[in-house]
């Protein structure tokens, strides 16, 4: 809303410069986008919030200024000369058939006008406000809209058929060509202004007039419509029609029904002044929506309860009076100024539909009095603060992953459905958007994998080759039509595990890196169980399913090498490893394991290591070796580890060589050579017997 400084002077006697006014407005609730000094004086660009349609006119802004500076506001009382012979009631009839859409409709008629260009002062005012000049009568209706904030519409009286106006609901599918030349299809929520007793539509009420009855340079007689339409109906209609106008903005936010007749009179006054003619006596005023003004009580107690600091009676009353609330002290201590028991009965002004409760009056007083008059203080906390339940688990996990070289990422969950499907389990229902911005962002990710792979893709496409990322985020799915958001940890890596440097040779990131890193975080939750198998997006030879806690527990995730089929879709030309874990289970186990963790005394006697080098068939696992040794039940065996593994030279085809390192240690005594030889002998024969493994000289 462009506010011309000179125009404001018609309503308040201003002596301060525009800059200061703009600043004071900004600190009392009218947001100011800027000030321009143009050909017609300073123009303040005010951004009016949607609850204050009364400020969408010079009068409203002037009222704000009158409250801020405690200056009197000049009354608006147009008194156009009326015909002594002809009456408006003889020239037009009005009927409102849809009072729930149209609460008031006034009509005046001016005969014998001369349509011509507007005088310079009017053109300048409109230009300052950013409105183009058309002709005197149309300009006048725009002028009154800007001045009083109330929309009007002018018809060429002679183009209206039979002068019987009806305001009714549009019929479904009914059409009307509006002023802008566009034929619009209507629906029954839309108020329609019609002539010929409702037969022909001549305007969309509160939004835009029809093209057939518009003012032209040949117009002789003018009908001034100034009405009031229901804000919700207008907002619904503008959305339906996708049509926003100056009128619909004001009616849509709530115009002042009492202003309708005044604005019409002001319009007639200006027409007589600038276009001549004769105003028919009286006004047609159909006003089914008239309501008594609401009374609102404001107490000092409530003001203090909300604001925490006081405003003196003098200021409080001056502010409310200037804004039109007409405060009257009604408490029993009326004689006592600034009494803590003070109460005021106020009257809601017709232009302030937004202010109908005590809290609204509290805000009115506070904002105009100045928010910096309320001293800041830090309130005392009366309850202990708590972190999120998973805060500690997540923090530990995050720190560990970062220590292992992974960058935390945050991704936008909107992805292409086709990509999402690469990772989506077949039984998971996708959460699809009804109104996406594009197909590439058409669904919410069903797994974190799809956006993590996307982040790897971005980096590879931008010249980065060695990438380790993780995200702690959510996956979004529908279960029986209900949304389910699950917290997941997604990990991804590709490129070198170690780069060629001054001191080390390069090594590519491989499955064992992923497994080791995941086990490092799994240790926080008691350790992962890795089992064969996994989802289709992983390479069947290099993947695993992860479980926590006891054998047979539900899987909590999967990890491995991205399947070629999926990697090809991303055009990955190097191995990419991915894992996803359900954080709910990981966090839950974190706390369980942490709370059950107990100190174990360190052994006092030295441990002894023995290596066993065995040939195993390809496909035989280390787990089988470990199990065979542990099955012997030797309590002094404290660890069974794989120390080395190789194939090739000196190893028969179809077999591989595994170096198994067993640690013996007793809590009671230092082990003797004889004991260790006995354990070793039992291990050798067990491996030979249960696995058919042949032993090499270790």
């Amino acid at each position: 809303m462009k506010v011309a400084y000179n125009w404001l002077k018609e309503f308040v006697d201003l002596s301060v410069p525009a800059e200061e006014i703009a600043s004071r407005l900004a600190f009392s609730g009218t947001n100011i986008a800027g000030i321009e000094n143009g050909a017609h004086g300073a123009v303040i660009d005010a951004e009016i919030s949607s609850n204050r349609p009364d400020c969408l006119g010079m009068l409203g802004i002037a009222r704000e200024i009158s409250a801020i500076y405690r200056l009197p506001l000049k009354p608006v009382a147009p008194k156009p000369a009326e015909s002594t012979s002809a009456k408006a009631s003889g020239a037009v009839r009005v009927k409102i058939e849809a009072p729930e859409l149209c609460g008031r409709f006034t009509a005046r008629v001016v005969r014998g006008v001369k349509i011509q260009p507007s005088p310079a002062w009017l053109k300048n005012r409109l230009e300052a406000a950013g409105v183009a000049s058309i002709n005197n009568v149309v300009d006048i209706s725009n002028y009154v809209l800007l001045e009083l904030g109330h929309p009007l519409h002018t018809f060429d009286y002679d183009l209206l058929r039979n002068h019987s106006i009806v305001v009714r609901r549009a019929k479904a599918g009914e059409k009307l060509k509006t002023l802008d030349g566009i034929e619009r299809t209507l629906d029954p929520g839309i108020p329609l202004v019609c002539d010929t007793d409702g037969a022909r539509a001549v305007g969309i009420g509160g939004i835009m007039g029809g093209g057939e009855t518009e003012i032209s340079f040949s117009t002789k007689n003018v009908l001034i419509e100034c009405a009031w339409f229901d804000p919700i109906a207008i907002r619904r209609a503008t959305r339906f029609l996708k049509l926003h106008t100056e009128a619909s903005t004001r009616f849509g936010r709530g115009a002042d029904p009492e202003m309708a007749e005044t604005a019409s009179r002001r319009c007639a006054e200006l027409i007589l002044q600038l276009a001549g003619g004769e105003l028919l006596a009286g006004v047609i005023d159909v006003y089914p929506g008239k309501r008594a003004a609401k009374k609102i009580t404001l107490t000092r107690a409530e003001f203090l309860r909300v604001m925490g600091a006081d405003v003196p009676d003098k200021d409080l009353e001056a502010i409310l009076s200037a804004l039109g609330f007409a405060p009257v002290r009604v408490d029993d201590n009326r004689g006592a100024a600034n009494s803590l028991l003070a109460a005021w009965e106020c009257t809601q002004p017709s232009w302030r539909a937004d202010a109908e409760r005590e809290i609204d009056l509290v805000e009115e007083v506070a904002r105009v009095y100045g928010l910096d008059n309320f001293p800041p203080r830090l309130p005392v906390a009366r309850i202990a603060a708590a972190r999120l339940p998973h805060h500690e688990a997540e923090t530990r996990l995050r720190e560990r992953l970062i220590g292992l070289g992974y960058h935390e990422i945050i991704t936008i969950p909107h992805v292409a459905e086709e990509r999402n499907d690469l990772f989506r389990p077949p039984d998971a229902q996708v959460a699809k958007l009804a109104n996406p911005l594009s197909e590439e962002a058409g669904v919410l990710k069903s797994t974190g994998l799809v956006t993590l792979a996307g982040a790897i893709e971005w980096n590879l496409n931008h010249g980065q080759r060695n990438i380790r990322l993780f995200e702690i985020g959510r996956q979004y799915r529908l279960v029986d039509g209900k949304p389910v958001e699950t917290r997941v940890l997604t990990v991804g890596a590709t490129g070198a595990a170690r780069e060629q440097g001054l001191y080390d040779a390069a090594r590519e990131y491989n499955f064992a890196d992923l497994k080791g890193d995941l086990d490092a975080i799994g240790a926080l939750s008691g350790g992962f169980r890795w089992e064969d198998g996994g989802p289709e997006w992983l390479n069947a030879a290099k993947r695993g399913t992860l479980r926590l806690g006891q054998e047979g527990n539900q899987p909590i995730g999967a990890a491995g090498l991205l399947a070629k089929r999926v990697a090809d879709k991303f055009k990955f030309r190097q191995d990419v490893f991915l894992a996803e874990l359900d954080l709910g289970a990981v966090d839950c186990m974190f706390y369980g394991v942490k709370n059950n963790r107990r100190y174990e005394p360190l052994p006092r006697f030295p441990g002894v290591e023995r290596d066993f080098s065995v040939f195993l068939e390809d496909g035989q696992s280390f787990a089988e070796v470990k199990k065979a040794i542990e099955a012997l039940g030797i309590p002094e065996v404290t660890s069974v580890a794989a120390a080395d593994l190789f194939r090739g030279k000196n190893v028969p085809a179809g077999k591989y060589s595994l170096l198994v390192r067993v640690t013996f240690q007793s809590r009671e005594a230092t082990l003797t050579e004889a004991q260790i030889n006995d354990f070793s002998g039992r291990i050798v024969s067990a491996l030979e017997k249960t696995l058919g493994a042949s032993l090499r000289a270790a």
Binding site: G308, L378, A385
Partner: protein
């Protein structure tokens, strides 16, 4: 090699020392001898030899003095010899230790250029990851509010219109809905009610108040969504921290004091704050909150002399909206609006991070280019 031309090989009697003064005289000769030898230029080998000569267990000077002077000394002299010997021992040991440091340091300095570390070369660089910058800012803000009694809670991102709008006093066709262009979910036939992506973290206010009775003091970090076309300052997903405090005695002054405290913790004590009246359907009175521009120190002038680009010369930067909880909201959660009061705020995290770190493209946060991530370790 120091020579052992000293009196320790003989007994006191052989040396003709019969009084404490004569003993002291002997010891001072021995000390002079040691000082003389220890003062010479030493390398690790000569230092070792010196140590052997004086402290060697079998025939070091100290051992010889013990054997030849102390043990056979007459009872009258024994005390004097013992005292002098202890003094000598202490001096020899501390001098040897000090000389050892000199000798080692000299040897290290003398190391050949080949053995010396080149400090301009990098060390062994183990890859270390980074916290995402948004996460860092979240954490910092959480910690500040946690320190003044705010608990952290979360809520769903897929919401119902009730929690995202209605219960926040934004009925259908409310003009504010036009400013929050909303993503809706496509639902299977027969699914109950529409679902949307929350446009702010405010629905969690309602969810929290439904579950807890006052006093309530929470902050809500999370993702929010608005259907804006992406550009340098818009992302259709971004992050907010919602704050809510409701109690029997919370006032506007408590609200501004809390915000003031937060901002000074986050931006520094010298930052100035101001509140401008504004409008939100779920708060009343509502405010917009500004801080003095942290880039130009609130002067409006950049260091280079021109207009500050960050505040465009206005000296202030608009940070976020907030206000006292509108009593209408309490109606939705069965709080008595006559008995409780409170405040709420919603801070845009991405914008805050961009301001603080001078980032000019919001998309950088979500591209996750490792070169970007590494800039904020």
């Amino acid at each position: 090699m120091p020579t052992v031309d000293n009196p320790a090989g003989k007994t006191l009697a052989e040396l003709g020392a019969a009084s404490p003064d004569e003993v002291a005289q002997l010891f001072s000769e021995v000390r002079a001898l040691f000082d003389n030898q220890a003062a010479k230029q030493l390398d690790p080998a000569t230092w070792e030899a010196l140590k052997q000569v004086w402290t060697g267990r079998k025939s070091g000077v100290l051992t010889l003095i013990t054997d030849n002077w102390l043990k056979p000394a007459t009872p009258e002299l024994k005390r004097a010899v013992g005292q002098e010997l202890n003094k000598l021992k202490a001096q020899v040991e501390s001098t040897l230790e000090a000389r050892k440091r000199d000798v080692e340091s000299l040897a290290e300095h003398a190391a050949s250029a080949k053995d010396r570390a080149d400090l301009s070369l990098p060390g062994v660089l183990r890859p270390v990851g980074t916290h995402h910058l948004i996460r860092q800012v979240f954490q910092e803000i959480e910690d500040i509010f946690f320190s003044i009694g705010f608990s952290v809670v979360e809520g769903p991102e897929i919401e119902t219109p009730y929690y995202n709008f209605e219960a926040l006093n934004i009925p259908e066709f409310h003009p504010v809905r036009d400013d929050m262009d909303t993503f809706y979910l496509e639902l299977p036939k027969g699914a109950p009610g529409p679902l949307l992506l929350r446009t702010h973290t405010s629905p969690v206010q309602i969810r929290t108040m439904e579950k807890r009775q006052p006093p309530v003091r929470v902050i809500v970090p999370g993702k929010v969504y608005r259907r804006d076309n992406p550009d340098a300052t818009h992302s259709f997903m971004f992050h907010q921290i919602e704050g809510l405090a409701v109690d029997s005695d919370i006032t506007f002054c408590d609200f501004t004091g809390t915000i003031d405290y937060f901002v000074k913790q986050f931006f520094g004590e010298s930052v100035k704050t101001r509140f401008r009246p504004s409008y939100f359907p779920f708060t009343e009175p509502s405010v917009e909150f500004d801080v003095s521009c942290v880039f130009c120190g609130g002067s409006g002038t950049a260091k280079s002399g021109g207009t500050c680009g960050k505040c465009k010369g206005s000296r202030w930067i608009e940070l976020f909206g907030a206000g006292m909880v509108d009593p209408a909201v309490y109606g939705f959660v069965n709080y008595d609006p006559k008995k409780v009061s409170g405040f709420a705020f919603g801070i845009g995290i991405d914008r805050l991070a961009m301001l603080k770190y001078g980032i000019d493209d919001i998309q950088a946060f979500f591209q996750n280019d490792v070169r970007f991530l590494r800039q904020f370790p």
